[in-house]
Symmetry: D2
Subunit: 382 residues, 4 copies
């Protein structure tokens, strides 16, 4: 393992250069053509077999037989205009690696270089997935059939809310499930001065919002984190006409499938029942394929803490109710999603993910590569 650390440190200049190269040329979800090509070339240079999966996804395969471990990076950028003034600033207007996927790709390529050198027994699959940002690329990869033999998945996310260089590991739920819903209320429109000749859908929408608060405050255990948010409301066209319909869109977040299922079911039930109570009709639908919670395998988490602690600063990863399609891999085998701290106040790297001034403390890149390589080796040899 010490060797891996040394190799990783040696890769640092290459990692920085690679990350910046990717940063200059961001590609949005399902459009990762150049990134994908670059990844394939780099892997092939190392003698690693590659497969194109899920349109722009790449799987690299090192070794064969024995245990099978997978390491994952995501490749897509965001439709955000970069506001950082750096030499490697995005060269594509309106697009930016504002979530750190450029670092993810660089770190995983670094791990490939290390592992290609030390050749652990067994098989390593390098997953470079497209479309993490709202595209469910992870789901497509997981369902491709190419990963069915994997026995453990590891993923790393650089994390702006953790101090630079800290490795956040936590068994159990780390990130949340994500559902997107749409509630439509159908009433009966009419003159704003004659509400009694209408069935006012705005009034019903308000009631659904109110009544659904109870799911969190009265129905679900206070120990079970749950968020129900309405992000968008749209109803009516002018001040003096009661419209025929009203709409809202929002998201549900939870840490367990049970809580998520309960909240989804109850929000729908309440919407429909409250609308009926007011003589209207409401429909509730999910507008996106649900993302499961990211639940880390306790055994892998313990293993990772033990394996990494001698070389890196391991801390308990802070939980959030954000979501990741990495969770789809855990349907195949135990999985562990790790946070790598990149917050560095001295360098002004303090902006949250998806912010136009988001950046990565590049000094940690080697740690990501080392973490990937150590966990792969450790798992294969266990």
């Amino acid at each position: 393992m010490k060797e891996i650390i040394d190799l990783a440190k040696g890769l640092q200049p290459w990692l920085v250069e690679t990350r910046r190269r990717l940063h200059r040329h961001p590609e949005l979800a399902w459009e990762e053509v150049e990134t994908s090509r670059f990844v394939e070339e780099e892997l092939r240079k190392l003698g690693i077999e590659t497969k194109k999966v899920a349109k722009t996804g790449v799987i690299g395969i090192l070794g064969s037989g024995g245990r099978v471990v997978a390491l994952r990076a995501d490749m897509d950028a965001l439709p955000i205009q970069e506001e950082n003034e750096v030499p490697y600033r995005s060269e594509v207007p309106g697009k930016m690696h504002a979530c750190g996927h450029d670092a993810h790709v660089a770190m995983l390529l670094g791990a490939a270089r290390i592992l290609a050198r030390i050749r652990p027994k067994g098989t390593v699959k390098f997953i470079f997935q497209p479309a993490e940002e709202g595209g469910l690329g992870g789901k497509r990869m997981a369902e491709s059939g190419e990963l069915d033999d994997v026995e453990a998945f590891f993923g790393i996310h650089v994390w702006a809310h953790l101090e630079s260089g800290k490795i956040g590991i936590r068994g159990g739920p780390l990130w949340a499930s994500a559902d997107a819903y749409h509630i439509a209320v159908k009433g009966k429109g009419g003159h704003g001065a004659m509400p009694h000749r209408t069935v006012d859908p705005i009034s019903v929408l308000v009631s659904i919002f109110e009544e659904s608060q109870r799911i969190i405050t009265r129905e679900v255990s206070p120990l079970e984190p749950l968020v129900i948010t309405v992000g968008k409301v749209e109803a009516g066209t002018t001040w003096n006409v009661i419209p025929g319909e009203a709409h809202m869109w929002g998201t549900i977040r939870a840490f367990t499938q049970e809580t998520r299922d309960y909240a989804v079911r109850r929000l729908g039930e309440i919407a429909e029942a409250v609308a009926r109570a007011h003589r209207a009709e409401a429909t509730f639908e999910l507008t996106m394929e649900p993302i499961p919670p990211t639940v880390n395998d306790e055994g892998l988490a313990r293993m990772a803490k033990e394996a990494l602690s001698p070389y890196l600063e391991v801390v308990e990863a802070p939980r959030e109710l954000v979501a990741e399609d990495f969770s789809f891999y855990s349907r195949i085998a135990p999985a562990l999603f790790i946070l790598l701290g990149i917050r560095n106040e001295e360098k002004g790297i303090v902006y949250p993910h998806h912010h136009p001034r988001f950046n990565v403390d590049e000094d940690v890149l080697w740690m990501g590569s080392a973490t990937h390589a150590i966990l792969a080796k450790r798992f294969l040899e266990s």
Copy 2:
């Protein structure tokens, strides 16, 4: 008619004495034994036939054949401790004529004296009813069978919100219907720290209150007066236990049977539907026989305005959402309920009905007798 006015004025000392005599000896609903006996004696002195109806009620019958008109007074007092310092103050602790029914009896007896003297053609029925205050005495009288031949009903209420001496007449709805309801929510009790193991009935009660607001604001015409009030809430026994049940009691008031029926039905529907939406059960029940709205016959109202205007100051009666069981008589025949102003700031007669300092400006008593007599004569001769 002029003769009636003169006769009424001549009765004024007797009216005052009679009203005070009644005021000193108030009797509660369904206990009007002495009042009833007194009324019977007075009527018999005048040669008017009497019948005991509805326990303590009295009907006096003057004349026979021809058209039949009825004049009504109510006799019961209230469980209120009088706070007026007057010579004729209530002599019964905790009971008081705080609504003016003492004046009503006196005025109607005065009318009997006048009509016994002038003997209009046709038949006059004098109704002295028990239990107007929550006892539905009017309903019992109306359903006794003794009034089935009546062709018009007139009633007078002294009114503290109208200037002394003014006669308030209005065709159409004057006072409201009254319903008393009870909503019980059955949930599932438990520890206050574990709401998710309960079905919190207090939370559901709150939701029912909220959602039922829409009946008034969105469902019923803004031109249709409607009140839904919760007067009493009772739930739970202590701060840290979620109870199994929660209760509220209230009243519904409206001016038309349609609006009343709608509100009663919808409040029940909303209570049940909202409870179900929250996994609880609600029952809605009326705890009192409904009192219909007091809707004055337009024809009688016009007739009364014309007949009284030459002698008395007639004004448009102010409407309120209070209720009166006089409304039951209008199920038999057209009816007119008249307000007689008794508010006199100079005399300090400004307290509302049911107040411990309520009083009647006695100067108007003769007007009440005259009004009764004029309307009876006018109707019989029309």
Copy 3:
């Protein structure tokens, strides 16, 4: 008066032709150029002096000295595509006389013809106003100075909710005040999964809606008609982001200035206080110059009933909470707004105002002219 009736009936073919001519060529608010020119020409033909007022408005003046009465018609059409299949269908795509102002103009021109013939003593002012539909043309006319000497205003609105040929007259409040408001809530946006790092303005908007219900159900007398409607809500752009702002637009309607003032004040207060309670800020603003309630002068109403009853079927006008800028004229002098029934089920004339299939039963046009003329003559001679 009988002469007026006969003259009016004789004008019926001309009235129909004139109304159709106007119907074919609808002009929107403040664009009534051709209508205005046509009105001027017609008035001049009759020897009636004209003045252009308020851009496209016309005032015709007949006679001089003596009492001064004004008769009013509005001229603007609506941005609605006509769906009637009639020979005189609108020839302007997307514009239509869907409220009956074409009939109003024709009827008032008819009245001008009658009055020009019978020449009542005193002065008649014919008001052809622009922009009744949301443009406050009535306010501009009333404030022009040209009507300051008027002693009584009369206006007629054809009315789809009244049987054809009935003349609806009511003293006191007939139509409502109208206010247009906008409530903006400023919170703090953020990630939909992290509501605690935001101040959710949608949640606050919901609360403002809920809490403002009490203005109607608990604060204002149930005898005072009041409507508070939200017609439009706009907040957020997508499902998983809590926006920084949320907006709603709506209208307040009342029958008295007191109730209107109270509701406007309280809605603003509640919006601001509830927002503050939730750590947000709300602003409440009126986005239109308030329209006062249309309160008919009781004396003019009585006069009109007496004057018209011998010739036309006069009924009590049904009240609504719609609004009219005719109300601005009553700031100058007593005013009376009359409804003329045009609903004719046999002819299929049953669609409400502002509906693409709205139409006018033309058989009543002469009644409108006659009503205008009779009331002018009667008032001038009183």
Copy 4:
């Protein structure tokens, strides 16, 4: 340590007898006179010095100098009528050890016997506290001055929601803070038919309930458990009168002082602001001295897991939002509160704490004594 386990097992018959003796004679909070006397006698028999503290509390002191560790049991019973049919059933009508404090006392006396025998170096303080059930006996003991030198506190609670024999240990928050609050709304009473002449306090209470939901759903992190419960509502006396006041009582539970402080502050703010928005006044007050959250020291938790795992089945303790005044001891020094499973379906021991059929699986009593003794020894020798 093995010796302790053996000693504890040997005490089992005595532990059962002692627990049953206490079970037969339950004493309520602050009335633990006989229990207290019994404890003192038992301690003295062992040569352990005793002090009476906080009325009926007892502190036993074994050894002197060196490190100081404290072991705690609570002694009070509950005002519940026992429904178990057992030979040792409560002999006091209406009182019962329905929370397991009888077992706590027996187990700690057993630990005293063991420790008196093995005499670890340093000082052990045995805390037998009164009035855990709502009496804040723990606070009184902690503030007595007698425990100021303690360096670590250990407490054990038998736990009906954990399988018999399992030892539940968790670092960090285990149980919640508890606050009891009272919200009083002052409005203006009046007739139920005339809400506009009142300020309806029931309506305001409902609004406060509604608006306060947002504290949990929008203001506090979904990762921070928080409960706000209303357990009792009281308002009004009858259906047709709007009362002048309305009241509610409830509890707030949280796992961190910050969340608790925030929720207490915000509930008060919202109550007052919402009441003012509706022209009423609300007061918010805490009716009980706040109980802090039971937060276990991470170091002690690790130490306990290591020390106990070789001999007993140690599991991660399930969290709840119930509260314990054990939390007051942690203001003095690091503290650890441990759950000892007593749920045994075969024996029918399945009823929750405070249930009339609650019982303790006595087979685990020796484990409690052993746990106390092992932790004391381990801490003193560390």
